[in-house]
């Protein structure tokens, strides 16, 4: 069964450093998402992406965050200058988008655990 993959599985960085989290969505999916989950808390939506542009973003997704689809397969989340509170699991998800969204499942990747020191 096709699946969303994410790299790295773990990332440790110093505060103020830039990090790039990578995702390979399921082939032929059209909608892509990033979510995060701070330890012990809810899964929170960050951003959705369709047709090479951001569709929707949450309040969390401020100027420090950016997303990109640099080629036909990768989907990246960049945090420009990390803060301690950015420590979390970051999940990528995708949906086919072929039926206009109705009843479609979002497929999540295994996540990247980011630790900012």
């Amino acid at each position: 069964e096709p699946e969303v993959t994410q790299t790295p599985s773990h990332q440790v960085t110093q505060m103020g450093q830039e990090v790039i989290l990578r995702c390979v969505p399921i082939s032929n999916h059209l909608y892509f998402y990033w979510y995060r989950q701070i330890l012990g808390q809810k899964v929170e939506f960050l951003v959705s992406f369709y047709n090479n542009e951001i569709s929707e973003k949450s309040e969390i997704f401020d100027d420090q965050f950016s997303v990109e689809r640099p080629d036909g397969s990768n989907f990246t989340l960049k945090i420009r200058s990390t803060k301690l509170e950015d420590s979390a699991m970051y999940f990528c998800a995708s949906t086919p988008g072929t039926s206009g969204g109705e009843g479609e499942t979002q497929y999540f990747g295994p996540g990247t655990r980011l630790l900012v020191l």
């Binding site: 909608y31 899964v43 988008g97 206009g100 479609e104 979002q106 497929y107 655990r113």
Partner: protein, 112 residues
């Protein structure tokens, strides 16, 4: 999006049927009900989705009464590997190209 309420945690023995109920009193006409499962340190995984009555797949059943103000996820004969957090989500096409809004979920612990 309709607010959902579900138990914080549940315990069950292996082999038992587990029913997790979610209340969503303000559900709108266009809203679907979707359940996701999350194992520790993994991403959420879609389990089942319904609009009304009963839906069944190879993993679970979803019971939705006529007024749709609640729903019950039923897991038949759970095993230790069903230990996870289960989320009830309600919204207009919530599993489509719409961002998912997760609550705190129900933490199910299956005991041998």
């Amino acid at each position: 999006l309709a607010k959902t309420t579900q138990p914080i945690s549940m315990d069950s023995y292996e082999g038992q049927e587990v029913n997790i109920t979610c209340s969503h009193n303000n559900i709108a006409t266009n809203d679907y009900i979707t359940w996701y499962q999350q194992f520790p340190s993994q991403g959420p995984r879609f389990i089942i989705q319904g609009y009304k009555t009963k839906v069944t797949n190879e993993v679970a059943s979803l019971f939705i009464p006529a007024d749709r103000k609640s729903s019950t996820l039923s897991l038949p004969r759970v095993s230790l590997s069903d230990t996870a957090v289960y989320y009830c989500l309600v919204g207009d096409q919530p599993s489509g190209n719409t961002p998912l809004v997760f609550g705190k979920g129900t933490r199910l612990s299956v005991i041998a």
